[in-house]
Subunit: 432 residues, 2 copies
């Protein structure tokens, strides 16, 4: 047997604990696959005394001490886009250590600089666990779907949001209500903003964009809308039209008038057809559709979080390092990563679901229809259910394909009407 | 740039043509990803004069001459489990050349011996294109879902069968009718036996079993049932019960009384719940569900055949060789591959769909129910539609979970009745 691959693990939460347990339970089999044993030479976590169901050897109170260990690989499972996580990854790469990380925030923000550092020092920097848990989507985009240009990547990348939307649909309860329940059960964080606001999906999408389109990860030009405004009524109407509402990260390529590649990156709740693959990703699962152009569409789904799935992703990265492959961090050398040129907001016109809460008064439909028509938004179908003269009722419409800017303009004008109760809701359709 | 990876291609059909075109169209980008250019130094195909839409350099009439070329890699796209394909792959490995192959039949039959040869000579033998076209399922089982034991793999692995079943469902036409149509359109071979009889699926399943369970590929103990006996009536009744019929390759692990691992490998038309992932793989697409145990279930779908998807698979193998990783052929060194111990036919009891064509005579249902009860098969639900005294009618049942052996015994006895018209039909349910 060859010499062991020595690893140092920083962070023993869900992911780190899973890695330690899997290495302990299946060390010899993994050594056989990897061609060498994987040996943990140091670990660091916040609380040395916490009971974890396994014993910890070579404890280091300071995670940065792992940089000085004799590990070949530092496994960074601390999280956060600055601070200790960043210092640890940078320090490890500076000190000749490969890095495996599950840190989407760090890589989305500093990915290019870190990849440069890895490349300069001929080191590996791998992050399968950062996106979609156990689904090998990072490796697939980096190493498999490479022969024909990718057109788009669309994913359900946040299990908390998908769980909340699935529960809202199943129970008819409100967002706030289901969120509270999810927090009590430990499915959502005490501060859920990063999940439900779409920020976590945005971090993951930035990484998938980079792998799919050969651009440096870029959060700056991303539109991000969370699921906080989705109501049970929207979910109900979606179902009447044959759709389900999912929080999607979408990245797609278009071309400007001069043939230059433009990338649209957006995180938003979207309507997907009930029989489409992404519509059937339920609960805390994740799913990704890759349109590989000539090579066709592919769909991948599975567990996006949890101990075993994320440990599986980390261990697949360790295997690759143990086997000695040298793969560029984002699939291409950093010098080959283009700057991301964002597409305009109307690059991919789509149909929209619109919901208006109006007072049931004569002329209200004419007023809405008139404003939409004035901005060039045409209606494909409409539901108005129930009559309650003088009371609030919902009017729901699906538009023909149109740019979002026109729809926003129309909705702004409509919202100003004294017959309209609350902010109108607009949700795009995504073929998925 | 590093020195080129030199390749020699044998076979310029759909797959080979796709590889040549993709390398020509995106050579520089692939070189950037691979860390070195991929250069085709020789090709061989049956007909040098055929118009292919690209020019061919370094033509060799004899494919075996590629063994003597200065290629680093021989890409075998000839097919067949013996003859030239086998001689070429063996010769290439004997002469220090890596091999990329799309040849499921060859690898299912001789995989272990070829892997031994590759390993001994420190060469790579890769076969992503042999299973499920552009879906990276080989790489995923070999390199990603490795940390937790896989429990089962279930796949729609033959696009021709799935196309035929999908068309039968959409149009209500018979198997023979749809097959003829598929042949006319070029979706099915003139001799369709290997596809519709399940043999092609069996080859692919043997490779997935090996990767999932660490056993040498083994076709010997596989039960293989094709789709020839499926009728529009079965498809219709399946839909009434909330199922669709799909030809599945299924490989799953169980344990005998002494705790020894047993592998069941079966190819059969199966009932899958209408909302399950595999049920929604339509037309010529492929799909695979991997139950990775603790790490959860994963689903992968996409194009299983065609020029660009298969070329994508071959090129991903070439990339891996160019990048210098050394991965064991079936995920583990040959010495670590166990012999496959087949599970008994009743290792995984399941519910069954049963259809009887009977004469509508008094007592016929009692006779069927009696025979089933005698062999311990209990009925969960039943459909008998229409009455036509003295004429043939269909009786359809779903059983509770039971072993196939008991069902077969009951059906044999029932078939002997003079009230039963044709051979009763039995189709298992698969959670998928």
């Amino acid at each position: 047997m060859n010499r062991p691959l020595k690893i140092a693990i920083a962070g023993l939460g869900t992911v780190g604990g899973g890695v330690v347990k899997a290495l302990a339970a299946r060390g010899p089999e993994l050594a056989e696959r990897a061609g060498r044993p994987i040996e943990t030479v140091a670990v660091s976590a916040r609380d040395a005394k916490k009971s974890r169901g396994f014993t910890i050897a070579n404890w280091q109170q300071d995670p940065l001490a792992l940089i000085q260990s004799d590990a070949d690989v530092v496994v960074e499972l601390i999280g956060g886009d600055e601070g200790i996580a960043r210092a640890l990854v940078e320090g490890a790469l500076d000190h000749g250590k490969h890095v495996v990380s599950a840190n989407k925030a760090l890589l989305a923000k500093h990915g290019k600089v870190l990849a440069e550092k890895a490349e300069k020092n001929k080191l590996q920097l791998k992050f399968e666990a950062a996106v979609a848990g156990g689904i090998p989507i990072v490796k697939t985009l980096r190493e498999s779907l490479i022969s024909h240009p990718v057109q788009s990547v669309k994913g359900i990348l946040n299990g908390t949001c998908n769980y909340i939307l699935t529960e809202m649909e199943a129970s008819g309860r409100s967002f706030a209500d289901v969120l509270k329940d999810a927090q009590a059960k430990g499915y959502a964080e005490a501060d859920p903003t990063l999940d439900v606001g779409g920020g976590d999906t945005a971090h993951k999408l930035a990484l998938l964009s980079s792998l799919a389109f050969g651009t440096a990860p870029d959060l700056a030009a991303m539109r991000v809308v969370g699921i906080e405004q989705i109501t049970p009524a929207d979910i109900h109407f979606a179902s009447e039209f044959g759709f389900r509402i999912k929080l999607l990260g979408v990245s797609r390529r278009s071309f400007d008038a001069k043939g230059g590649a433009r990338i649209e990156q957006v995180v938003h709740p979207a309507m997907v057809r009930a029989r489409s693959p992404l519509a059937n990703v339920d609960g805390a699962a994740n799913g990704v559709v890759v349109d590989a152009g000539e090579a066709g569409p592919y769909f991948f789904s599975g567990r996006g979080a949890g101990e075993a799935p994320t440990a599986s992703a980390v261990i697949s990265d360790l295997l690759e390092i143990a086997q000695g492959a040298f793969t560029p961090v984002f699939g291409r050398p950093v010098a080959g990563l283009a700057a991301l040129v964002p597409a305009g907001p109307d690059a991919a016109p789509t149909a929209w679901y619109l919901r208006f809460e109006v007072l049931d008064l004569p002329g209200v439909l004419a007023e809405i229809a008139g404003q939409l028509s004035q901005t060039g938004v045409s209606i494909e179908s409409m539901i108005q259910r129930g009559r309650a003269p003088g009371e609030p009722v919902a009017i729901v419409m699906i538009t023909h394909a149109t740019g979002g800017v026109a729809v926003e303009r129309a909705l702004k004008a409509i919202a100003a009407s004294d017959k309209v109760r609350s902010r109108p809701c607009m949700i795009p359709m995504e073929a998925a």
